[in-house]
């Protein structure tokens, strides 16, 4: 009892082969698209690798690039097979390879599903990497004279302006670190000495944020210094003031940016998987319809095509039996060899 049996005359076979060939070309383009998405994602991760402490895992974009290239190769080969399928002499060359090729297609589709799943799950390790990376980035903001870290200030300022965020979790992260370099602090002034004396580590802490935290949409000019002191500014209440500086933390902003990108890429990979399954089924039909000609000498006769020769259950039990037979065969061989060895 074959699975999804369909009758094919010559015209239908030709149309099927042409359709599957066209679908294979679309799949090649889809493979190129997946490859370019992987490349794009890799570049985006590299652009902000300073915020991730140069520690981010590039496994998912590398996997996407590999899968894209593999898809191009497999689909090009499938297209060639379809193209040759209408010529019996050329097709007979491909026949022995067809079963292993279809099995590898199944494995490739499983790999695609796994890739899509990984895309959706990558958000979690990214969150941890960003938390660590941003904390360090904030600490090195003032080190504009230290080689290797001198561009951290500019990078962080530009990122806060671009992503409309402030600090790691929120703007209060800036209150806990010294972000003004000692070169610009007058250590003879009383105010500076007081602030430094007020904490254990001798850091110049203040309730102020850098200018890049300012929100241009605020109706009043930006209040950066003494942000939590209501009396320092006229008509100001920091509890109700929403528009002055960005409220969102940069970790949340970057996670939602990368998360959105990864969700779209994951959805795209799922669509490509569906396309791959369709072409695989199409190729199986082409294969079975050409292999089961009622009269091998007459290419114009009717034939039948199916997806599986027996039902799903029977095919599955067949596979299990084969595997058991193979393992038993090994055991018998070993026993036989041992027996012969001990016997002689």
């Amino acid at each position: 009892m074959a699975l999804m049996k369909v009758k094919f005359d010559l015209k239908k076979r030709v149309k099927l082969a042409q359709f599957v060939w066209l679908m294979y070309w679309f799949s090649v383009m889809a493979g190129v698209l997946v490859f370019s998405m992987g490349l794009f994602f890799k570049i985006e991760l590299r652009k902000r690798s300073e915020m991730m402490d140069n520690n981010e895992s590039h496994f998912v974009p590398n996997l996407l690039i590999g899968v894209g290239l593999l898809a191009c190769g497999i689909n090009a080969m499938g297209g060639k097979i379809c193209y040759d399928s209408l010529d019996p002499s050329k097709f007979s060359r491909w026949k022995p390879m067809l079963k292993p090729f279809l099995v590898s297609c199944v494995a490739f589709n499983c790999l695609l599903v796994l890739t899509a799943l990984l895309c959706f799950l990558m958000r979690i390790p990214l969150q941890f990497t960003l938390a660590e990376g941003l904390k360090n980035a904030l600490k090195f903001y003032k080190d504009t004279d230290t080689p290797g870290r001198c561009y951290m200030k500019r990078t962080l300022d530009q990122m806060q302006m671009e992503f409309r965020c402030c600090g790691n979790n929120n703007f209060r992260d800036w209150f806990e670190i010294q972000w003004v370099s000692n070169r610009y602090l007058d250590f003879s002034a009383k105010e500076v000495k007081d602030r430094i004396g007020s904490n254990v580590d001798g850091k110049y802490l203040m309730d102020a944020v850098p200018f890049s935290c300012c929100n241009p949409g605020s109706p009043r000019p930006c209040i950066q210094y003494q942000v939590t002191n209501n009396t320092a500014h006229y008509s100001y209440d920091h509890h109700t003031e929403d528009l002055n500086i960005w409220k969102r933390g940069c970790r949340d902003a970057l996670i939602s940016y990368y998360g959105g990108m990864m969700n779209s890429i994951g959805a795209l990979v799922l669509l490509v998987t569906i396309l791959e399954v369709i072409v695989m089924i199409g190729l199986q039909y082409v294969n079975t319809s050409l292999s089961n000609l009622a009269n091998p000498e007459d290419p114009e006769c009717e034939s039948e095509g199916w997806i599986l020769e027996k039902t799903v259950k029977e095919t599955f039990t067949d596979i299990m039996d084969k595997m058991k037979a193979m393992s038993k065969g090994n055991a018998v061989d070993e026993a036989g060899v041992d027996g012969v060895a001990t016997g002689s």
Binding site: T144, D145, C150, K153, R154, D157, Q158, M161, W179, V180, S181, R183, Y184, L185, D186, A189, P210, F211, S212, C214, P216, G217, P219, R220, P221, C222, Q224, H233, Y234, S235
Partner: protein
Amino acid sequence: MVLLKLQFPLQRRVRLAQGLWLLSWLAVLAGAFTFSLGVYLKTELLRRAEVMDNTEIHVVPNILMLVGLVTMGINLFAGRVCQDSLDSARFPPWKPFLLPWYGLAWMVCVWLLSAVVLSYALQGHLEESLKVGLRNGIRFYRDTDVPGRCFQKETIDRLQMELRCCGNTNYRDWFEVQWISNRYLDFTSKEVKDRVRSNVDGRYLMDGVPFSCCNPGSPRPCLQNHLTDNTAHYNYEHQSEELNLYNRGCRQALVDYYMGLMNTIGPGILSVISLQISVLVSLRYLHTSLEGVDPENPEADSEGYILAKGVKETLMDVKTTVFKLLQFGQVEAGDEAEAGADGEKAAS
């Protein structure tokens, strides 16, 4: 004395027609390209429409869009004509349209050239328009509670951050304007009262700039207030400090941006002009070579030329034709007057 005469055996005529067909399709694409360039330029100008005072500069993208569409049309016509040209039955209906077509193609080239020239000539107008627009933007920066102007602050802030510029000519423009709204000034404090009294108009002026002027590439945290006072900040000298704020004025930044755009568009337009001229010349040769074909012997050689007589003689001919048309009109009026006079004489 014919201008640029060439011999056209049958094979050459056929090849000319084929080449022209291909060229005309390329010219259609070039027309589409011109149209899209016009659209792109117009969108870029509209994006910053809030800091521009007038829309004179919009004439350049408008010309490009219009001429792009006309180019597509005439080149589709040219392609159709040369498809029919080798069939002696189908070609004659097109003949009367060819003379106006040459005129139109010539006009297209002239308009495209004028668009390129205008884009450079209107630079002064653009600068004036930006000067006034930015001056108003800076003046109305604080009016975030006035309907119609409440987005001026956000517009100017985003402009300064995106284009890395400060003020109109430079950052000192902010010193001459009160950019903090009265709602946020404590008029009971001595400092505010002093500043407001220190000038005729009673404005709160200070040597400070908004945060959007700050340069992220500066090694020290941004200094926005008391910019001309060296003692207000530790280790600060305002004459030598270059990286603290953006040095460029926004007017210069915008003019540079738009001139850069026009400089990129210019060579594209010039190549479209040369393509159109080559289509024009090829079609003229095809036309004249097909006219010269002997009807009894369609496969014989023929001659093609650009102008039947020399340039001067052709211009004289055109002049006399135009005069004749005018005279024809005058003579008719004269005849009527005579007939009227005769009629009166007969009546009296």
